[in-house]
Every structure is written in structure tokens, then in C-alpha cells.
């Protein structure tokens, strides 16, 4: 399941539904990304994305993960638009018969979503706004796979 949405989502609801429909898998891994206020001055975050390409890019990443690991289920949710501190930004869930595969697939999905899905984060504070810069470490992380 893939959802690119501006609405908030509840990670609890997502994980409950996901865990109850994993097709006999014994292992479920989830990742949830949360808006942090590192500077203590964050008012909100704006996430821009590229409608059309976003869905296409994430679907390709999910298909690639499902090819590499035996997954019985896989879900990606990613918000765009206006987010407040402590809001959930995105979530990934994977299910497999084996814990190692569920872990690796979720880790892989995160690495690729971070650097290959067309989202851009902007942090807005009282002092102004700034586009979050990509990290070399995030690009390097792709070499793990």
C-alpha cells in the first residue's frame, strides 16, 4: 500500500491494520519519521513534492525491495504540505517470515525514500525559513545495498 497525502495519519492505526493483514508473516518492522525541532525555534515544516513522479518513484522503490526480499506486505505513507513539530512525516512497514528480511527491507526503503523520492523539506521559524540540505551520508547509505 502506498499513500502520499497531506492529511495527518496515526502510526498506531497503520501498524495495527498492517499487523493484522500480513499474510501469515511472523515479523513486522515499522519506521516512523517525526518532525523534530532541533533549533528550538521551529514553527512548522513545509514539504514540497512532485505529484506524479512521487508515486512513480516510491512504487519503483517498493517493487525493488519486494524483489530483493521475501515480503508478504509492504506499506509506505508520506505526507506533504504543512506539518507541525512532533507530527508524523512518514511511515514504512514491512512484513516477512524472517525478521532479518523485514529489517533489511525497511532499512532499504528508508535509505531510498530519503534520497530518491522527490520530497523537499523546508523548516519555517520566526527568523525565516530554510530548505533542509541533503546529507552526503544519506547518499552514501545507498552504497550499502
Amino acid at each position: 500500500m502506498l499513500s502520499v497525502q497531506s492529511n495527518a495519519f496515526d502510526p498506531g492505526d497503520i501498524l495495527r491494520n498492517f499487523s493484522e493483514n500480513v499474510g501469515g508473516a511472523g515479523a513486522v518492522v515499522s519506521f516512523t519519521g517525526i518532525v523534530r525541532d532541533n533549533s528550538g525555534t521551529l514553527d512548522h515544516m513545509l514539504i514540497e513534492h512532485y505529484p506524479g513522479m512521487t508515486e512513480k518513484a516510491i512504487s519503483a522503490i517498493m517493487a525493488s525491495a519486494s524483489k530483493r526480499w521475501n515480503l508478504t506486505a509492504c506499506t509506505v505513507i508520506h505526507r506533504h504540505g504543512h506539518l507541525n513539530p512532533n507530527d508524523m512525516i512518514m511511515m514504512v512497514a514491512t512484513a516477512s517470515s524472517h525478521r532479518v528480511e523485514a529489517f533489511q527491507a525497511a532499512d532499504y526503503l528508508m535509505d531510498y525514500l530519503k534520497s530518491r523520492a522527490p520530497f523537499w523539506k523546508k523548516e519555517v521559524s520566526k527568523d525565516g525559513s530554510i530548505w533542509v540540505e541533503s546529507k552526503a551520508a544519506d547518499e552514501d547509505a545507498l552504497n550499502r545495498w
Partner: protein, 83 residues
């Protein structure tokens, strides 16, 4: 040939519009960037360091050598920061 061009994040802000349709004879992305940069200062500024930019052609991430043959949509943006 007509191509739809999209700009995202600070590239969009620097150029001042989210999208436009251009008439071009460029054969690859480099050529298109050269044409756009020659237009106006704001384009030249946005494209001054293409190592800081990424490009998608018909919604697939590619590089600046990519051909524009048969292409309908080109997007310019900074490295993604999703997740």
C-alpha cells in the same frame, strides 16, 4: 519542440515560477540548461552550479547528458530530502 519544465524547492523560488512550457531545439538537458541560463539572470543564478541540482526527465531521475528526444517533461530540483 515543446517541453514542459518544472521547478521545485529553492530552484522554483529562485526562478520564481513552478512550471512553464518552453520551445526548444536542445538535444539534451545540458543544452536546455544553457538556453534557459541565457534568458535571464534568475535562470543563470539557479543553474550556476548544476552539481547542486538534480534533473528528472519524464518523471525519471537521470543526469544532465540525458537526451530530450521525444521528451514531454523535464524537472529541476535540489537533492531530495524526504523520509
Amino acid at each position: 519542440m515543446q517541453i514542459e519544465i518544472l521547478y521545485f524547492a529553492w530552484v522554483r523560488e529562485r526562478i520564481g515560477i513552478p512550471r512553464e512550457t518552453v520551445e526548444t531545439n536542445a538535444t539534451n538537458v545540458h543544452g536546455l540548461v544553457a538556453e534557459l541560463s541565457a534568458r535571464e539572470e534568475r535562470y543563470a543564478l539557479a543553474f550556476s552550479d548544476i552539481s547542486a541540482l538534480r534533473v528528472a526527465v519524464d518523471q525519471d531521475l537521470t543526469d544532465f547528458d540525458a537526451t530530450l528526444n521525444g521528451v514531454r517533461e523535464v524537472a529541476f530540483f535540489p537533492p531530495m530530502t524526504g523520509g
